[in-house]
Amino acid sequence: MALVPSDGPGGASLAAGQHVAAPATLPPHAALAGGAEGPGTGRLAHMARRGGPRATGTLRKGEGLFGWLFISPALVILVLFVVLPIFLALYVSFTNWSGLTPPLSSSVKLVGLANYRTLLTQPGIYQSNFAESIRNVFYYVLFTVPLQTVGALGLAVLVNNKFLKARAFFRGAFYLPSVTSSIAVTVIFMYLFQGAGVVNSILHVFGWQQTPNWVYDQRGLFTLILSALGINNPGWGNHLVMGLPAWQWLAGPSLGMCVMIIMVSWTTAGTFMLFFLAALQQINEDLDEATEIDGATSWQKFRRVTVPLLRPTLVLVVTLGFISTWQVFDQSYLLGPANPTSITPAYFAYQVSFQDSAFGMGAAVAFLLFALIVVLTLLQRKFVKEDLTK
C-alpha cells in the first residue's frame, strides 16, 4: 500500500500539485550511520529484534506505559479530527442542517434519504449540477493522469541522460512547481490563459487567430472536434441522463477544464518525475550494456528493456495520480465560479454547503464522492493487477 502525504487532518490527501511521497524503499541515508553494529548483530540482538517474530515475551520496564503515552496525542487528534467528523458528517447527510447551530442541536431535523434523492434521482438543479460536476471530474481525471504520467516519464528520461551536463539544475527546474501553492499557480495560469494573455499571444504567432477565452470557454473538446467534422448533436443527444443531456455527458473536457488539466499536469509532472528517476537509476547498468551490445537501437532498448522494468513505478504513479485527481478542489475553487464546466464534486460540495447553507446535502455529496473514489480505486486495482499478470 502506498502512502500519500496528507496536507490536511490525518487522512491521506494529495491535493493535485502538492507534494507526493514515494513508497518502496527509504533513501540511502536512511540506513543510518549507527556504527558497524547493525540490527541483528551483537549479543543483544536476539532479544531486541523487532519486525520479525518476537524473541522474548517479557516487556521491558515501562514499555507499555510509554508506548501508550507516546502514541496517544496522535491518536486523540486522529479520533477527534478524522473518525469523529466522518461519523458526524454521515449523520448530518441525513439532516437538513443549515450550518448556523452546532450540528447536534435539537433544531436540526432528520430528513432520511432526501439529500441523496435530491442529488441522484430527483430532477432539478441540484441533480443536474451534481451530474455535471461528476462529468467534469471524470474527464479531468481521464486526461490528467495519462498526461502527467507520460510527462513525468519523459522528463525523467531527459534528465537521466548521462552524457548531459547541468542535470541537477534541470531536475530542480522541473520539480519547482511541485513545491508551490496550488492557489498561486492557478492565479498565474488564469493570467497566462486570459483572452489577451501569453498563451493566446503565442498562438497568434503560430497563425491561430481565433483563439478562445480559455478559462471561460464551456465548449467541450469532443464536441468541438466532432462539429469540425460536421457531426452535431443527433436527436438522442437530448436524452437526459441524471438530469444532464447525453450529448453533454459525451462533450469531453471543456476548454476551461483543459486549462486545469494542463496546469495540474505541469505542476505534478515534476513530482512524479522523481519516482521515475529513482527507478531509472536502479535499473541495472549491465542490462543496459547487454542490450547495447546486442545492437538494439535506443528506442528499442527503451521500449523493450526500460519500460517493462519501470512497470512497478508506472503502476504506482498512476495509482497516486488517480487518488489525487479525483479530489481536486483548490483549482476548481478559483476556476469554477467563472465556468460551470470547471466545477468538480469537491467544489460542488463546498458550494452547496457554504453558499446555499445546505450542509446536509454538502455532506451527502462528500459521501457520494467517497463512494465513487472507493469503487473506482477498487476497479483500477483489479484492472492493473490483471494487466500485470498478462
Partner: protein
C-alpha cells in the same frame, strides 16, 4: 571509458534542446508573473507577453507592502504573519507528535499496538477532500470554528509523517537503546537523548514536508475560518482573486501576491534542494 558514454553529437544536441525547451515551459510562467507584476494594470492585461515592463510600475508592490491606496481587502503583512505563524506551529507539532507516535509504533511493545497500527493505516483510506465538510462540522460542534485553534489542531498530526518516522526508527540499531538502558535511562530519556539525534535526516525531511504542506494549505483553512483576520497568503490571495477586489483585473497585484506566496517555498527549495528531493521519495512504507 565504456562504450555507452559515447554518444553522437546530434543526440547530445537533441538532449539539450529537449531539456532547454522543457525548462522554459517550467520556468517561464514564473518569469511572466514577476515581469507583469511590475506593470500597470492596463499593460499587464493587454501586453502580457512583453517581458520588460516599460515603463515599470511599482504600484502593485507598493500596495503589497502596505503603501499607497491599499484596498481594505488586502492586508499582506497580516497574511504573511498568519502564514508564518501557522506553518511554524503546525510544523513543530507535527515533527514532535509524529516522531513520538512513530517511535512508539516502531520500537515499543505494548498491548494494542497492532490494533492501533491498523487503525492508523485505516485513516489513510479517507481522502482528505471527504474530510472538508466534516471538519467544519466538528469545529462547529466543539465551538472553536473561526480561530487559530481551528486552523492548527486538525493539522497537528499527519499519518504520513508518522509512517515516515517509523521507517527511520526501524533502522536504528538496537544497541543504542540497550546502551541507554544499561546506563539506567528511562524510555523518554533514551528516546530524547539517544534516538532522536540519530534520526535527524528523517526529522529534516518531515520538517520540510510539514512546512510546505501548511504553507500551501488552502482547503482546511478555508473551512476552519470566516474572518479576514485569519487570512494566510494563500487564502487571502484566493479571496482577492475570487472577487474580493473592488475594481478592474488588478493582474499585477494578483501576480505579485502569487509571487510573494511562492517565493519562500522557492528559496527554501533552492537552499535545501537535496532534502526536498530525498523527502520527495522518502515518505512511505510498503504495506
Amino acid at each position: 571509458m565504456s562504450a555507452r558514454s559515447y554518444s553522437p553529437p546530434y543526440r547530445r544536441a537533441l538532449g539539450y534542446a529537449g531539456l532547454i525547451l522543457m525548462a522554459a515551459i517550467f520556468i517561464f510562467p514564473f518569469v511572466f508573473s514577476v515581469a507583469n507584476s511590475f506593470k500597470s494594470d492596463a499593460q499587464a492585461t493587454n501586453d502580457a507577453i512583453n517581458l520588460v515592463p516599460h515603463p515599470a510600475s511599482l504600484a502593485a508592490w507598493r500596495q503589497i507592502f502596505g503603501y499607497g491606496p491599499a484596498a481594505a481587502t488586502t492586508n499582506f503583512p497580516l497574511w504573511l504573519f498568519n502564514s508564518v505563524f501557522l506553518s511554524v506551529c503546525i510544523t513543530v507539532g507535527r515533527v514532535f507528535l509524529d516522531s513520538l507516535a512513530g517511535y512508539s509504533l516502531a520500537r515499543l511493545r505494548f498491548r494494542g499496538r497492532k490494533l492501533i497500527f491498523g487503525f492508523i493505516i485505516g485513516t489513510l483510506a479517507v481522502p482528505s477532500v471527504v474530510l472538508m465538510i466534516p471538519t467544519f462540522l466538528i469545529l462547529k460542534q466543539f465551538g472553536i470554528f473561526n480561530s487559530y485553534e481551528a486552523m492548527i489542531l486538525p493539522m497537528l498530526v499527519d499519518v504520513t509523517g508518522i509512517f515516515l518516522m517509523r521507517q527511520f526508527f526501524l533502522q536504528v540499531p538496537d544497541a543504542l537503546e540497550e546502551a541507554g538502558r544499561v546506563d539506567g535511562a528511562n524510555i523518554w530519556q533514551i528516546y530524547w537523548r539517544l534516538i532522536l539525534p540519530v534520526v535527524r535526516p528523517g526529522l529534516v525531511a518531515l520538517t520540510i514536508i510539514s512546512f510546505q504542506a501548511s504553507w500551501n494549505q488552502f482547503m482546511f483553512y478555508l473551512v476552519a475560518t470566516v474572518s479576514p483576520k485569519y487570512f494566510t497568503l494563500v487564502t487571502g490571495l484566493a479571496n482577492i482573486v475570487g472577487g474580493g477586489l473592488s475594481a478592474g483585473n488588478q493582474y499585477p497585484l494578483k501576480l505579485g501576491a502569487s509571487v510573494l506566496t511562492i517565493l519562500p517555498m522557492v528559496i527554501m527549495f533552492v537552499v535545501l534542494q537535496r532534502y526536498f528531493v530525498r523527502g520527495g521519495t522518502a515518505g512511505s512504507v510498503k504495506g
